[in-house]
Subunit: 411 residues, 4 copies
């Protein structure tokens, strides 16, 4: 057992820290100004491309992607880097071409895509020439139970016809988003987990109607392409656009969850570090009732609680990454669920305390806190609400205790 | 001891319920559409004036205001009406001319205003011909400690000159907002609670610079005039614009707190009722994992907890209203603080559960929940963060136990 | 709506406060000494009888019992008195002959007993010449679901034969406990809520085996007769011992719940007042790190939270008592469940904070706090765990929202 | 970074698991019976010595002690073993001669004792021929602030005279407890952290008056020597009994804290595993309202929350052990405080849920749960209440953020 980062990780952390503090932090106010000055309300400001160029020059590019197409890092090595990108979650991940949902789509194409699919879509995504989206959630059904997904993908000759409505398709409002990965039902008569497939739909395909941007607590998230509601009405695509085989949609979905969780959770840990830092600075500077806020016992209690909960959360994510690397995603299932349960909730709580410590400024646009909070809150629902994962984790725990097996009492 | 509403109250509740369900609810989608279609981004849509006309016709007008200028209701009779307006907080209060901050300003003018001030400002406010704002909070100081307020109001001859920066001046972005009530320091050498005064500043006065709208989470709250940041630079107003006497600013501030708390808290209770109702309907309709969400134990637990906490919160607000009516605001100080501590937190929790039960829809613009939540969250900071009130309430509780007095152990 | 106690209540509160502070408090250390000096480990010390004599002399006797047999108070008038007895829950209730489970048994006999049953058992109970117990919970089944109760009561000629095991029969270890009210199944073939009956079993009946005293967190509660485990093995009693008619056991059980909850909950409120008072005194006196504990923000936060939660809990219990008096126990069902859910939990939390503020003394025998906590904790399980009541309350709340009925959105 | 136990640890875990499940678990009911049958109410039952003999035979002896006198394990290797002893905390630690407070006293003697002190006291302690106690806490002062400790140790010629009252001296009621390590003030005029010393006081020394056993909730903890209140009245001991040098008492105290925390916290983790296992079995077996409790969503929620919180707590303790081994106790200060803050609270919560799932049985003597809970609760106060550690940890966190140092944002 060893809780230290290895040399490769330490070296990358240092380089990434330099980049984030030296380039990304100074770009934050520029980004905000450019957002206000945009003519198209859904495009990313030009400073993003500048940061991407610099990151690429520094070799900080596609760090998330294992294997030949990316940086080839293990989950355990990438996780601490994802944390650092969480310090500036609107800019740092995209600067490194490590932003969701492109990351998940690139993983999908790298692992399950045909040579042709990879050439047409993976290559430009790896170079950030286009963006992509993942169309999974549907307004009409409880999508946390993926077997509910009702969008129809029907084979007709050498083509598939797609019909259905999706929403919260993150990134899809950005006109540069060229590809939608769509989950739908190819065979309603198959076994419950073999009914669905995933298919590639180019943006311009007739019948694809991007209707509106969904908001999260007032934010349109137009800085990273928003969250679209999309109607697919008689959308025809060639059979070669199917990802993997028919009926594999659910399994492929599961495969993208593990790494996605690590990324999300470590970015959240980084976001909480940023919030905690802002809280500490604020309360040291701000005075009321005869002293700095930092002298108030309740404020200190928040800070201590934040630190203690955050350390635990980080350790659990890192252990999960290590398990995925050593015994595989399947064996790490409990931990992958555990971090989904605990990290967004913990981070939401910490950011909320930072908001409170900032008073009115905390809820306003003058600190990143309100927006950070909203991201954390939304992640308690993304990939299914916490409650789904809790029930499932408990079922496994209950099973473990059926035969008496006290020597194995921990996960 | 009697927990039933009296006849007057019951009759008004019935009439108001009819109005809100029969007129306000149907107006909600109209309001949303008109908001999207506005040309001026800070004005209220026309449906508001239509509702106001109907409310006035029905005698549901200025219900909040005791005494000759208003409906003359006690706090205990108005409270249950304020709750009903909380079912639709963006529309119902304004429809009845019972929306903050105008309510507080009207109370202020009715109680402390000169005949001239009342004629010029109170009359048009009572008829909803203009709107008004209260400029208290400052970005540069912890304004929860009101003695920190630094804006300078200096007497020069027969005028006062005002210099300072305010923010979160609710309603002030609306061009119809004609009056700012400004809190500032008239005498830095006076005793701590006698340094400040309140003064009336007409919108058009030279030196008043409305700089920008502040946001709460992602919302600009432009539907009710937003929250302005305002610079006052060498703003000259006649001495007759002072409210009350010099040095009375802090005392007048305190006076507006009691009724304001009752209004805010009862509206919050109504907002929580709306959220709870939406949650119950949603979970009855939505199915996942083989049954309606309403069959899930955890969801039921939220509902039970919501109901139980909400009943308690309402009772405490009503008791506070009763105390204010019977022993006065001063004697009800503990309870006025208690409701500020407990109601926003309780209601925020309930709305958060309703959001969670709605999944992605809950954070979006398709239900009122995300916006309701943001209102509740902001009210944990408005009038000073919860923590200030907790410390103060505890100090009084500690004092009560100095001499042994077990027979008086409750508030 | 009126939140003041009426004159009768105020007068009784004053007299009871005099008695508790003037007689009960000074008796507490005497009681503790006498407990240590007992020869029989399950009998009440002699000071109890002295207090009873004094209480009776002062007309503070059987206050809990409505109707001709007792003091004839409404629930709303008795509730604030029960609260005062909670200041000293080991002595005050028994001193007034208002201690559970005798109170419930006296209500049962007064309401459902035959003239003969009343003469034989109610009369001596009203005079505190004997004590009684209620044998409901069984170790072998989840007794919170009363239809699970498996003890068999079989009619054979003019007698009933009882077989089964009960536990946590409070008071039954005291040799003065002369009567057991036993709940059991008379007809396993009847409808689910008509299978059970209640029956009177005199202590000396052959086949009644009191096996051992159950403990709660280390306490044997021998000061009020402990909690017995009892085997009933072929216990024959005459048919005249049945309470009410066959099959009415469940209904009678429900009938005793309402007033019982009010009593328990208001005593709990009184216990919390005592704990809060002890906490306030302690932190004012105790110094660490350069000042009194009372100066620490976190301690003040506990005190404020305690006061605010306690006020709300009290109001909800009082409203419930008022509802029971005005619309009946059946219509007050939601509130009766609500107070069971919220009061023990609230009071447990407050006492826990008082324990923490006392350091090691708080968990020891040198303050009443650890024992008070244990009572509150046990009451989260007595009458069924909180969770059962939460699920049930939620079911009713869900039903209320089936048809849209916004005007009735509160309980 | 590597989250797996090394081979040595795995081997020891296996051997210890065999011993605890094969020998200690079967001894638990024997122990309970022997406790009831004791004649001396403060001695350990004979089964303890039998278990010790077996453990020693198996080489599972003094595992806690690093260096030449003990098993020589690192903190990181011992921690997972301490966890296993937590499965049966009344028997397993003492069976291995790894029970507090003897462990801390042996560490003290091994590290700071003179050759003579080690021969006289360490040798018999290592062989479990005697027991020992640590007299630190005083009833009259807030002992969490160690500089408050008021017991006087005054040098007179070649002797020290000790005067003062201590309480919660764990183990001291057992007549086999031969040694008291006493903390007291040797020089009231020295600097604040140099005033105190630790001194060895043999039980029989004149002036040592063991007055009574303190209780925690209802437990006297007589199975492991209780918690004594002791008066030291003119107790003379030779100067050679001082541990270390004069004025080093505070520093020595700090030194024993680090390993002690690891031991306590990992035992707590083991206790929580036991409770979680009991909860899972119980809810699988128990039926109510038409199904096993395990089918209820709220119960599953407890189980998931328990597992997730427990995994995080364990990781934080293990990381702390690793830090102590690699960078030293001083550098691990934040983490040593963090585990004190989070582990007892987490474990208390988990055990409370297990109690609730057991209904009445959970609070009784028929499961180990109520006792486990009480241990966890008491540990929130032992070594100072949580709050002290929270304030201190927050102070350090605030200092870290004084200069901007985002690259070091985690502990």
């Amino acid at each position: 057992m060893d809780f230290g980062y290895d040399e490769t990780t330490e070296r990358l952390r240092e380089r990434l820290t330099d980049f984030v503090t030296g380039w990304v932090y100074p770009a934050e106010p520029v980004f905000e100004r450019q957002l206000l000055d945009r003519t198209d309300p859904w495009t990313a400001p030009p400073v993003v491309a500048e940061l991407q160029a610099e990151a690429r020059r520094r070799g900080l590019w596609n760090l998330f992607l294992p294997g030949e197409h990316g940086a080839g890092l293990t989950n355990l090595r990438y996780a601490p880097l994802a944390e650092i990108t969480g310090w500036s979650p609107s800019l740092a991940p995209v600067a490194l071409n490590c932003a969701a949902p492109d990351t998940g789509n690139m993983e999908l194409l790298a692992e399950f895509g045909t040579a042709e699919q990879r050439e047409r879509w993976l290559t430009p995504l790896l170079e950030a020439r286009i963006r992509s989206a993942f169309a999974m959630t549907e307004p009409a059904v409880a999508s946390s139970d993926a077997t509910n997904i009702a969008t129809r993908i029907e084979r007709v000759g050498d083509e598939y016809v797609i019909n259905g409505r999706k929403w919260f398709v993150t990134g899809a409002m950005d006109p540069r988003c060229a590809l939608f990965v769509v989950m739908g039902r190819t065979d309603p008569t198959a076994a419950r987990h073999r009914q669905h497939s995933q298919i590639l739909v180019p943006r311009g395909t007739p019948g694809v109607h991007v209707r509106r941007g969904m908001r999260t607590f007032g934010y349109d998230d137009s800085d990273h392409g928003g969250h679209a509601e999309i109607d697919f009405v008689d959308v025809w695509v060639p059979v070669g656009n199917l990802v993997g085989e028919e009926g594999s949609g659910f399994a492929i979905s599961q495969a993208r969850l593990g790494p996605g969780r690590i990324h999300h959770c470590m970015r959240l840990v980084g976001m909480a570090e940023r919030a905690l830092e802002l809280m500490c600075r604020r309360v040291a500077d701000r005075h009321a009732f005869g002293g700095p806020l930092a002298a108030q016992g309740v404020v200190r209690d928040w800070i201590a609680e934040s630190r203690v909960r955050l350390e635990q959360a980080r350790l659990l994510v890192l252990k999960t990454a290590w398990l995925m690397d050593t015994v595989g995603n399947r064996q790490a299932h409990t931990e992958i669920q555990a971090i989904k349960i605990v990290v967004p909730e913990t981070v939401e709580w910490i950011i909320d305390r930072a908001v409170q410590a900032h008073g009115a400024a905390g809820v306003s646009q003058d600190t990143p806190l309100a927006r950070l909070w909203t991201r954390a809150r939304a992640l308690r629902l993304a990939d299914g609400p916490d409650e789904v994962h809790r029930q499932s984790l408990a079922r496994r725990e209950l099973r473990r205790h059926q035969p008496r097996n006290p020597g194995m009492s921990h996960v």
